[in-house]
Structures are given as structure tokens and as C-alpha cells.
């Protein structure tokens, strides 16, 4: 009887700990690396006909300078790639008035999957192709 009570207490304690962990488990886990997301969005029939899906290469903050905003340069320079610098140069030509509603693209932008997932996906495709030839 005493053992049963101890076991019940132990079970309750462990369950409590697990529930606590479950409740605390932050969902700060990256969801952007899901290779299936882009295709799921692209295949969606319910999206507005004007909406398209695209992957982002790089994003540069639009910086307020006086009464207009222009794209920032430091991030572009540290973003390593040439495309960021091109984007920076292109963005200097556009401006948005201070405190006015901002323009938002209708394109649904996603981050690309993590490199290891891209490599895995490509490997699978290659394998499938090879098998088909056989």
C-alpha cells in the first residue's frame, strides 16, 4: 500500500514536471527551413489571384533620412553578396514620406530552407532520377 502511494506520488511528480516542461517549451524554433512550405503556398488554390510566392535573397532596412526614407548601406555591405549592394543602390531611387502608410508587396515572401535541407532535397531528386533511368 505504501509502495503504491509512493509510486503514485512519483508518477504525479514526473507528470507534473513533464507538463511544466511542455508548458514552458518556447516555440522560438525556426519554421523557415521547411522545404515544403514554399510549394504548399505555391499550390494553394485559395490565395488571391494577384498573390505570388517568392523566396527572399536578402532584406535591407529602409532608413528614414529627413523627410524621406532610403535603404541602409551598412547591412548591405555586411551581407557579403553583391545583390545586397545592388539592392541598396536601387533603393536609393525610391522614397517614402515620413509617417505615411507604407507600401507592402502582394507577393508572399518566404525565407529559403536551410542549406542542409536544400542539399538533401537535391540529393533525393538526383537519386530518384537515377532510379528512373534504370
Amino acid at each position: 500500500m505504501k509502495n503504491t502511494r509512493s509510486t503514485l506520488m512519483l508518477t504525479a511528480l514526473l507528470s507534473s514536471a513533464l507538463l511544466t516542461h511542455s508548458a514552458l517549451a518556447d516555440d522560438s524554433i525556426n519554421h523557415s527551413g521547411k522545404a515544403s512550405k514554399h510549394s504548399a503556398l505555391a499550390a494553394s488554390q485559395g490565395l488571391a489571384t494577384t498573390a505570388s510566392v517568392a523566396s527572399a535573397v536578402v532584406a535591407v532596412p529602409v532608413v528614414l533620412t529627413g523627410s524621406v526614407v532610403v535603404a541602409g548601406s551598412a547591412v548591405a555591405e555586411s551581407a557579403v553578396n553583391e545583390s545586397a549592394r545592388n539592392l541598396h543602390q536601387a533603393s536609393h531611387q525610391s522614397s517614402v514620406a515620413h509617417n505615411q502608410p507604407l507600401v507592402i508587396t502582394e507577393t508572399i515572401i518566404t525565407a529559403d530552407p536551410a542549406p542542409n535541407q536544400v542539399v538533401t532535397t537535391k540529393t533525393k531528386v538526383t537519386t530518384t532520377t537515377t532510379n528512373t533511368k534504370r
Binding site: S15, L24, S28, H31, S32, S44, A56, A59, G72, I104
Partner: protein
């Protein structure tokens, strides 16, 4: 004795089964709770709302689990900073929208984190509810945040040692919301000196008390590297979206603080 051993065995099986569920839950976060079009539409509506308010930088939060499963006083589970950006697309075009700058917990090594930029549809992809927390800072604070990201200095504030209940007053551990607080303070105080930022936080920021017994929290820490109390003293307090909102409201740093739902309902916080 036999009954006792059987009961212990049963408890262990239950424990292992529950543990698997808990960890599987973390690993399967990529599975959406809503249809892709519902997530895409909601994400775009959040963007359009922020843009209609002229927000060039704002704090954004999502809810990853039911409110009733979370400690009292906590509503959102992940917080980040959205910056209005020129976004170069893979098709060569450029688009205007929000890039979201996150600290994400590593899915494999739960005691580690990474800085990752994603976009609204990524951010809400596996949210439990299509509900966003939004804090639009004052114009001056927005400008300071944009300058910090323009200069690529936000990364200097990252501490990769992760704990879901990280203590905001020291640099031992960091979670997504503490990182957001550090970025916000770094922008406002124009410094990336972590020690100074922690002193400032201690002086002015009131964290959220974690309403769970220390014993339970201690037990939870045994099952995950992502939970630890080693950075806490007697009280367990952490940074949350709600405590950030209160901090910014207290010092008049906010233009708007709202929750935004998929029905378009906007409620002031």
C-alpha cells in the same frame, strides 16, 4: 514488492511516452495548424496593418500554444523585431515588406539559439492561433532600431546560450524576448555594451514573474537543456511580450500596442 516494481515500470513507460510527445512536439513545429492560404492571408494582413500605421520598425509576437497551457500572465510564446525593408527576391525583383529578425532556439540542441531573418508567413507558419502581438514604438525609437539593424549591430547582442526562462538581468542565458529587450535598449541607449544594458534593464525594466513553483521548474530543467534556473536567484522572472509592452508604455516609448486577430479584430494592450 511486485506491485511496486510494476507500478514503477508503468510510471517509466508513461514518462518515456510523454517525453517523446514533448520532444516530438518541438521537432514538428513546422507542421501548420491552419491552411497555407489562411496563414498567408493573415500574415499579409498583419503586414498591411503595420504599414497602414506607418510602422517602419515594430515588435511582433506569436502564440505557439493554448493560453490555458501557459503560466498565468503569459500570452505569447515568441517575440521578434520586424523592420520595413527592401527585399531582393530570388526571381530578381525587389519588393517592399517586413523582414523579421528573430532569435530562434535550436531544434536539436535546445540549450542553443541562432539569429535568423525570416518573413511574416514563416513567422506564423506553425502558430497555434492566428493572433499577433504588435508594439509599434514611437518614431524616435523606430529610427533607433532601424539604425541598429542598418549598422548590423543587433548581432552583437546575441548570447547563444538559451533558456526559455532566461533572467533578463544577467548575460548567462537569453531567450527570444530578452534578446528583443536587449536590442530595444541598445537602440535607445546607443550602446552595445552588454554590461551597461543589463544595469539599465535592472534599473528600469520589470520582468514577468513565472507563476510556477521552483520545484516544478527545477524538475522541468532535468528534461530539457532549454530550461534552466542556474541564472536565477530566489525569484524566477523572465522577459515576455507583455512585460515589454508595459515597459515601453511606462516610459512613453510606444505609439500603439495591440493584439491583431485573423478576423481583423484589434485590441489595445
Amino acid at each position: 514488492m511486485k506491485t511496486f516494481l510494476t507500478s514503477i515500470g508503468f510510471a517509466v513507460v508513461l514518462l518515456m511516452s510523454s517525453l517523446q510527445n514533448v520532444y516530438a512536439g518541438s521537432q514538428q513545429h513546422g507542421k501548420p495548424s491552419f491552411t497555407p492560404e489562411a496563414i498567408a492571408t493573415f500574415s499579409k494582413n498583419v503586414e498591411k496593418y503595420a504599414a497602414s500605421e506607418g510602422a517602419r520598425a515594430f515588435i511582433i509576437a506569436r502564440r505557439g500554444r493554448p493560453i490555458e497551457d501557459m503560466p498565468k500572465g503569459i500570452r505569447f510564446t515568441h517575440t521578434a523585431i520586424a523592420i520595413y525593408s527592401s527585399i531582393q527576391l530570388s526571381d530578381g525583383n525587389t519588393a517592399k515588406g517586413y523582414a523579421i529578425h528573430n532569435l530562434y532556439q535550436d531544434a536539436e540542441e535546445q540549450g542553443k539559439s541562432h539569429l535568423i531573418t525570416d518573413y511574416p508567413v514563416d513567422f506564423f507558419w506553425s502558430a497555434y492561433a492566428l493572433e499577433a502581438g504588435i508594439i509599434i514604438p514611437s518614431v524616435e525609437v523606430q529610427q533607433a532600431l532601424i539604425n541598429l539593424y542598418r549598422d548590423d549591430n543587433a548581432k552583437l547582442l546575441h548570447n547563444s546560450r538559451y533558456s526559455v526562462v532566461a533572467n533578463p538581468f544577467n548575460s548567462e542565458r537569453q531567450n527570444c524576448t530578452e534578446y528583443t529587450l536587449d536590442v530595444l535598449n541598445a537602440a535607445m541607449y546607443s550602446t552595445t555594451d552588454i554590461a551597461q544594458l543589463k544595469v539599465n534593464a535592472k534599473a528600469h525594466f520589470t520582468p514577468q514573474k513565472v507563476n510556477m513553483s521552483r520545484a516544478k521548474l527545477g524538475l522541468a530543467s532535468m528534461f530539457s537543456d532549454g530550461v534552466t534556473l542556474s541564472d536565477h536567484g530566489r525569484k524566477v522572472e523572465t522577459t515576455t511580450f507583455g512585460s515589454l509592452a508595459r515597459y515601453m508604455q511606462k516610459y512613453d516609448l510606444t505609439n500603439k500596442a495591440v493584439t491583431f486577430t485573423h478576423t481583423g479584430q484589434i485590441k489595445n494592450i
